[in-house]
């Protein structure tokens, strides 16, 4: 028989049987073997695994600095060399959900082992950490503990089995969220289905035409309207920055912006860039920009305008990203990051954004 899996379990002070809210400032401590819900966990695991240690921390203590505490907790977890890590379940507890999520993120990233938790859909830990952990869906009270523990163990066993998901084209070890009752992890995958794309489409369109209910495969987002800022007065004195999502980067692409689904941006000295550059963008053909980057980013015109005194000055740094099939959420974040950088530089009064 295969060796038993070594399991470490994370709990807060309450479930870790240290005490209630009055003990929420307790620091990290480790108990050998299972504690509290860990007993149910151990029972559900049977001889497939052994809860070797329980890492406990007070909710208040953890919430003071989740990332730093996760680092400390990780050391305690790692010293027990686990094959599998459980946290919680946290149910509807806000601080506890963040602690469980942060612990899962740190342990998963560092040790590369499956990390499983359980949460109620409305807690902040779910949205913050769903990407990093397998979080089983729970009710909002601990009454459903046995069922949640069952779900968590079932999911964990599926993950450690290394079984390939045959419904995925990629055949990854990635169980279906609906089948294993966990929150999807912000991943999109092609999945085999019984009906062809064409069959589904005609069927649904017929329902729509008949005025019957139909289900769209995607519920489209509603984008917020961004009002344009007021115009810049006295352009003659304004320092202006240039930004583009056309993928113009220094030769060698030092920040490794991707041609597609890029998540990064870079800040480059314009003079150096214009001497040696390349384009990293799969969404348009790059030939014309490679021939003359001014076609994408109007360095030439801006220099002329500055010479003529029509603008104050061109900011010497160009902010560049590659916007090709990047999800809008990340585009917004990059906008915020570039905006913050521009503000930090203090002298820039306006920016021109060019796109492809």
């Amino acid at each position: 028989m295969a060796e038993k899996l070594r399991i470490v379990h994370y709990l807060n002070q309450f479930f870790g049987q240290v005490g209630g809210e009055e003990k929420a400032s307790t620091g990290f401590l480790v108990k050998e073997g299972p504690v509290g819900p860990g007993l149910a966990l151990q029972k559900e695991l049977g001889d497939r695994g052994q809860v070797v240690a329980t890492v406990i921390c007070g909710d208040d203590t953890f919430a003071l600095s989740p990332a730093k505490n996760a680092e400390e907790g990780l050391k305690l977890v790692a010293s027990h060399r686990p094959d599998l890590f459980f946290a919680g379940p946290a149910f509807a507890a806000g601080r506890y959900s963040i602690a469980c999520g942060a612990m899962c993120k740190a342990v998963g990233a560092e040790l590369g082992i499956p990390v499983v938790s359980g949460m109620f859909e409305e807690v902040p830990g779910m949205e913050l950490y769903r990407k990093y952990a397998f979080i089983c869906k729970t009710g909002n009270t601990a009454r459903s503990m046995p069922a949640v523990i069952r779900d968590m163990v079932r999911l964990a066993m599926r993950l450690v089995s290394g079984e390939k998901e045959m419904r995925l084209l990629t055949r990854e070890n990635l169980p279906r969220p609906d089948e294993y009752n966990y929150f999807s992890r912000n991943l999109l995958r092609n999945e085999y289905c019984e009906k062809t794309i064409a069959e589904r489409t005609v069927e649904k369109l017929l329902a729509k035409l008949r005025g019957e209910p139909f289900e769209s495969e995607v519920v489209p987002p509603r984008f917020e309207k961004v009002p344009p800022p007021p115009a810049v007065r006295d352009l003659e004195g304004a320092e202006i920055a240039l930004i583009s999502d056309g993928g113009l980067v220094p030769k060698g692409n030092p920040d490794r912006l991707a041609r597609r689904s890029n998540l990064r941006w870079g800040a480059y000295d314009i003079e150096a860039l214009r001497r040696e550059y390349e384009v990293t963008h799969a969404g348009y053909f790059n030939d014309y920009v490679l021939e003359r980057p001014d076609r994408l980013v109007p360095f030439d015109v801006m220099c002329e305008l500055a010479e003529e005194g029509k603008i104050g000055k061109l900011h010497p740094t160009f902010f560049s990203t590659s916007g090709c099939t990047t999800v809008s959420k990340r585009c917004g974040e990059m906008g915020d990051e570039i905006g913050a950088e521009i503000k930090k530089r203090e002298t820039i009064r306006a920016a021109i954004l060019t796109s492809t």
């Binding site: 912000n186 999109l188 999945e191 794309i197 064409a198 005609v202 053909f285 990047t326």
Partner: protein
């Protein structure tokens, strides 16, 4: 317009002294086929292989996959405008060979993104082509021939091979006959069934190699195509072919166009198939608006459709043309079903939508074309390239066909995904 496709089920292929089919076996005179291909002075030489499921073979630099077909009752009418004389495709009788295809490789290509098909292992499992017999051709360029000109020669060689094989099977009885009969001018106007059209996006110039568009419609490129009404049979019968690169689309899938065939299956039962409007993705805003308005007008006021399915080509940008056409259709009261292709593996489905139009409320995922998959499989033989042939990956890494693992996007694996709607694939949140 009536088209009869007479299918012959080919169970096996073998080389033989005469190209013919007998009891489900297709015999191919490889010498004669080679001579046919080499008649084109742009081609110096050609490698021809018979390829079978289960072989440890990796076929590289794939440009197209073509179903062997020929016209039975017309002269010089195969793939009109490409290799046949220009005439309208889609009527009369066509012989079609099932379970066999022509794999067209361009070993001299300078394109970065080229198709890959394995005849065993994970790719063969994923692709219907991994379970078929094939005649693989890989032509080499003659001295002095320009790159794009040679690509057209390779494509023509593939189409000629497809016709040659189907012609050779002329003595074999058909195992079934599919009839595509749609008399659009006289469609039953009294019917209570809804009239449904197909908006078929043929092409997007965003990937143009050396800034030249690929011919794909009656022998011409369609860079500036105005929305055009075509009879669905023209699409099925060789009026439209795949690009000079595989992008979740090839000639085989167009010859068996998923949405067109599905609309035919429903025609007269619960809908009336009103016809097809072909359009392209445009590079300029004005052209997009023009194309969207014209397409919607053709759908509504020329074809008289109440519903339309908007079929998308690969790429991000084509979403814009597609959704603008869809919005214009909805404005005219035509109910839409629109395809989308989530292009990133991260996010929610809703995050991936590239348009903001409340009226487009029926969105179908026609696969995540750029999904990446790691293929761990070792070929013993390479066709159309070598173990040193580069395999495209969007990350700045070098990988080669002989590597123990290749990290590849699924749109480059022919047959795995299909823009025309034949794949049994849906995109889900995980």
């Amino acid at each position: 317009m009536k088209l009869e496709i007479e299918s012959i089920d080919i169970k096996e292929i073998q080389s033989g002294s005469k190209t013919h089919a007998q009891e489900g076996v297709l015999y191919v005179n490889l010498k004669e086929l080679e001579e046919l291909i080499l008649k084109d002075a742009r081609i110096k030489s050609v490698d021809i292989h018979l390829v079978y499921p289960g072989q440890k073979v990796r076929v590289l630099n794939l440009m197209d996959v073509i179903q062997p077909r020929c016209k039975v009752d017309k002269v010089d009418a195969d793939f009109p405008g490409f290799i046949g004389k220009m005439q309208i495709a889609g009527s009369g009788r066509t012989r079609s060979l099932q379970n066999v295809a022509v794999l067209v490789s361009n070993p001299c290509t300078n394109r970065k993104e080229n198709g890959v098909l394995d005849m065993d292992g994970p790719i063969a499992e994923m692709s219907p082509y991994g379970k078929m017999n094939h005649i693989s051709i890989a032509p080499y360029v003659a001295a002095g021939v320009e790159e794009r000109d040679f690509e057209n020669a390779v494509k023509a060689a593939g189409l000629k091979t497809a016709v040659y094989l189907a012609r050779g099977a002329d003595q074999h009885p058909a195992s079934k006959v599919e009839v595509y009969d749609l008399d659009i001018p006289n469609l039953d106007r009294k019917s209570n069934l809804p009239r449904v059209a197909c908006y078929y996006q043929l092409y997007s110039p965003q990937f143009d190699h050396l800034a030249i568009s690929d011919p794909c419609f009656y022998g011409t490129d369609v860079h500036h195509l105005m929305p055009t009404v075509v009879h669905p049979n023209e699409v099925l019968d060789g009026g439209v072919v795949g690009w000079l690169a595989i992008k979740a689309l090839d000639t085989y899938s167009i010859q068996n166009h998923g949405v067109i065939k599905e609309l035919y299956r429903h025609h007269g039962k619960d809908l009336i198939f009103a016809g097809v409007v072909c359009a392209v993705a445009n590079m300029e805003p004005a052209a997009r608006v023009r194309s969207a308005c014209m397409a919607a007008n053709l759908v509504k006021n020329v074809l008289g459709a109440e519903g339309v399915i908007l079929v998308k080509i690969t790429g991000g940008m084509p979403h814009i043309d597609l959704s603008m056409a869809g919005e214009e259709c909805e404005k005219l009261g035509v109910k839409t079903a629109i395809f989308t292709q989530p292009l990133t593996p991260v996010g929610t489905l809703s995050d991936t939508i590239l348009f903001n139009a409340e009226s487009l409320n029926l969105i179908i995922t026609s696969s995540a074309t750029f999904e990446r998959t790691k293929i761990s499989w070792k070929a013993e033989k390479f066709i159309g390239g070598t173990a040193e042939t580069r395999v495209f990956c969007p990350d700045p890494i070098d990988q080669f066909a002989g590597d123990p693992v290749i990290d590849i996007e699924e749109y480059l694996l022919p047959g795995v995904l299909d823009c025309t709607g034949n794949s049994r694939v849906i995109v889900k949140e995980y």
